[in-house]
């Protein structure tokens, strides 16, 4: 089992003919993802790599090919509209990889997606992977392995680091989800924790947070109140100066809010095992399993 994506995922790639879209579509297909369609306005009727039909609109990809999941690789200026299009077309899970989406745009996207009962992951995220079954986004397939641990993270390469260490230590994953580093995102820690708690195959969860906002604190309370499975947490940015945006638009300490210390304290108070270093995950997860 897994969360959000599995063998029934029928993926449409929005921006399939672009540089990033085409590269990662090939990677996803190679990994075994069922890429049923692509969308690029004006390229409808073409075939991508002789195997994936391209449409002008998402609604065609849904009606012609039964797509139920979409991944968005379009440029930031058009990403929000691509998400809206997917939601309106009835796509259930929308994964927005695009970086640099204006926060104003996201503010209107979030209620729109929610009203349609769809789930958005991202934007500015690496996507998600269910090892051995399906990958949607840009997470490298070779660093994961099937197993009992759920991983959720605001980061990209830091996730790879942690997941790779788990895999090398023989600890596989149910699903790894990168929820994205922007201040407004569709799916947050709590949403993923809830899904992992409900997934019978997930036996422990790794949560990789960072400075900025209060999502980790809210997630900590969720773990305390509603989770039976062990959770190991990490916060990046203990040495980050306040008031500066650390790469991710969401990684910023505002005033005294959103510091790593505050988040780690919340973790500890709510019974989450805290990894001081990425390398600590392996031991803490092994202790929890």
């Amino acid at each position: 089992m897994s969360i959000f994506i599995d063998g029934s995922t029928r993926l449409v790639v929005q921006g399939i003919t672009g540089r990033d879209g085409s590269f990662h579509t090939r990677q996803m297909i190679e990994y075994g993802t069922d890429v049923v369609a692509g969308v690029t306005p004006g390229k409808g009727g073409q075939m991508f790599d002789d195997s994936v039909p391209v449409f002008n609109t998402v609604v065609e990809a849904v009606s012609e090919r039964g797509a139920n999941t979409s991944v968005v690789y379009v440029p930031a200026a058009f990403a929000a509209d691509a998400v809206l299009e997917a939601a309106e077309a009835g796509i259930e899970l929308i994964v927005c990889i695009s970086e640099g989406v204006p926060v104003q745009d996201m503010m209107r996207v979030l209620p729109f997606v929610e009203e349609r009962g769809a789930r958005l992951i991202g934007p500015n995220c690496p996507g998600l992977i269910t090892p051995g079954v399906c990958k949607v986004g840009i997470l490298p397939g070779q660093i994961v392995a099937p197993g009992p641990v759920g991983v959720v993270s605001r980061s990209g390469t830091l996730t790879y680091e942690v997941v790779f260490q788990l895999t090398r230590a023989g600890i596989g994953q149910t699903t790894c989800v990168g929820i994205g580093g922007d201040p407004l995102i569709g799916t947050n820690f709590v949403d993923c924790l809830e899904a992992f708690e409900a997934d019978p195959d997930t036996r422990a969860v790794c949560m990789i947070g960072e400075i900025g906002g209060t999502d980790e604190q809210v997630a900590a309370e969720f773990v305390r109140d509603r989770m039976s499975k062990p959770v190991v947490g990490f916060i990046a940015g203990r040495t980050a100066p306040p008031g500066r945006r650390m790469g991710h638009a969401g990684a910023i300490i505002s005033g005294s809010e959103g510091t790593a210390d505050e988040k780690m304290r919340a973790f500890r108070e709510c019974g989450i095992a805290v990894a001081e270093l990425p390398a600590d995950f392996v031991g803490l997860v092994q202790a929890g399993l």
């Binding site: 979030l110 490298p140 980061s155 390469t157 999502d215 990046a236 040495t239 790469g247």
Partner: protein, 380 residues
């Protein structure tokens, strides 16, 4: 992106908010000329991207034009929280009957813009929030409906009792919201919003932060970027598509990915070192970026060792390796480098580095320990 008070005021003025006149001076002579144009007492205000200017002595009342020149001379060149004052705003002094606070900020928790107003104006709103939270009225703006007229009135009633002032404030609040939206801001504050003895409501100080991601849509606002107000290395990094923040340590860090970059800095500290910077080379594989990154880092005299931590995903390790070799050809790198590369095209990268005389590690903990040790004059 931060903009200066005088720039924020230009935006507010363009949206019809009553803001007293004001002009920017970069020398005491200019300040004097502006002050004599207005006549009467003026306020001379440091234009720097930080709060607490008043406490730092960056805001001074001047009785006349000559005094304005004197005050400007005192403020120009002053350092406030590490930033040098290059410009002052000269604006007529206003008579003040009362001071209020009006602000709007993109609020992550409510996934919307949130207004905050308080009749306790002219002071740091975070202090008010801490000491008397009941003095602050908040309103979430539904992104689907925008700010509704009655909501603006409701906020204004929290500030004033007299309906004449309430209507003025409500109009200012609506225009502030329009200005905030139009500029792509994530924060816009008027503090203080004053009432004059004649009952007029005016914006006396203003602050705006702009979403970096929206700048492509608002070229007028992007043009307000003041690179003289930031370290040149950060300007250079941004122009090259790098995300760089200078710190005070001695281990220069080059990492791909923001989260991994922060974790690397944290680990440097954990193993007894001090990171010299945050630097994310991003997901692309352009060797030029690596060259620029090394130029920026080696330009910092405090840096004693350089740490590469690359987890190849989209980023190809061989590209980073080529960038390192390229950089050592173009510029002289006189400080030791510890390199860790893993992931996409790792083997090719190791080979490239080996040819050029560099060793590469695969483990993050080890490379960080090595870099810290190098900075402390250890092995190499």
């Amino acid at each position: 992106m931060n903009i200066h008070e005088y720039q924020a005021k230009e935006i507010l003025r363009a949206h019809g908010i009553p803001v007293p006149p004001g002009e920017v001076a970069t020398s005491p002579e200019e300040a004097e000329a502006i002050a004599s144009k207005y006549g009467g007492p003026v306020v001379v205000k440091a234009q720097v991207h930080t709060g607490g200017r008043g406490k730092a002595g960056g805001v001074k009342l001047a009785d006349d034009a000559a005094d304005a020149a004197e005050k400007a001379a005192a403020i120009l060149g002053m350092e406030i929280k590490g930033l040098t004052v290059e410009k002052v705003l000269v604006t007529p002094a206003e008579e003040i009957a009362s001071e209020a606070y009006v602000g709007i900020v993109m609020d992550r928790a409510s996934q919307a813009d949130v207004f905050m107003v308080s009749s306790e104006g002219g002071v740091d709103i975070e202090e008010v929030a801490a000491s008397q939270p009941e003095a602050i009225t908040k309103l979430r703006v539904d992104p689907r409906y925008g700010l509704l007229p009655h909501q603006a009135m409701g906020l204004a009633w929290a500030l004033y009792d007299d309906v004449k002032q309430v209507r003025q404030a409500a109009s200012i609040i609506r225009k502030l919201h329009e200005a905030y939206r139009a500029a792509g801001a994530t924060l816009a504050e008027i503090n203080p919003l004053i009432v004059t003895p004649e009952g007029e409501v005016k914006a006396i100080d203003a602050k705006m932060n702009i979403d970096d991601n929206v700048l492509f849509r608002v070229p007028d606002v992007e043009a307000m970027r003041d690179t003289s107000a930031e370290p040149p290395a950060e300007t250079k990094a941004r122009d090259a598509g790098l995300s760089y923040i200078k710190l005070d340590g001695d281990v220069g860090c080059v990492v791909n990915g923001a989260g991994l970059a922060m974790a690397t800095m944290d680990m440097v500290k954990h193993y007894g070192g001090e990171p010299a910077n945050f630097l994310d080379i991003g997901g692309s594989s352009n060797p030029d970026k690596v060259v620029t990154a090394l130029e920026i880092i080696t330009a910092d005299p405090r840096v004693k060792s350089i740490l590469f931590n690359i987890f190849g995903g989209i980023t190809r390790c061989d590209d980073v390796a080529n960038g390192i070799v390229e950089a050592t050809n173009r510029i002289e790198i006189d400080r030791p480098i510890a390199i860790r590369l893993t992931g996409t095209n790792e083997e090719e990268a190791v080979e490239i580095l080996k040819q050029a005389g560099f060793a590469a590690m695969t483990d993050m903990d080890e490379v960080v320990k090595e870099a810290v040790s190098l900075a402390h004059g250890g092995s190499d």
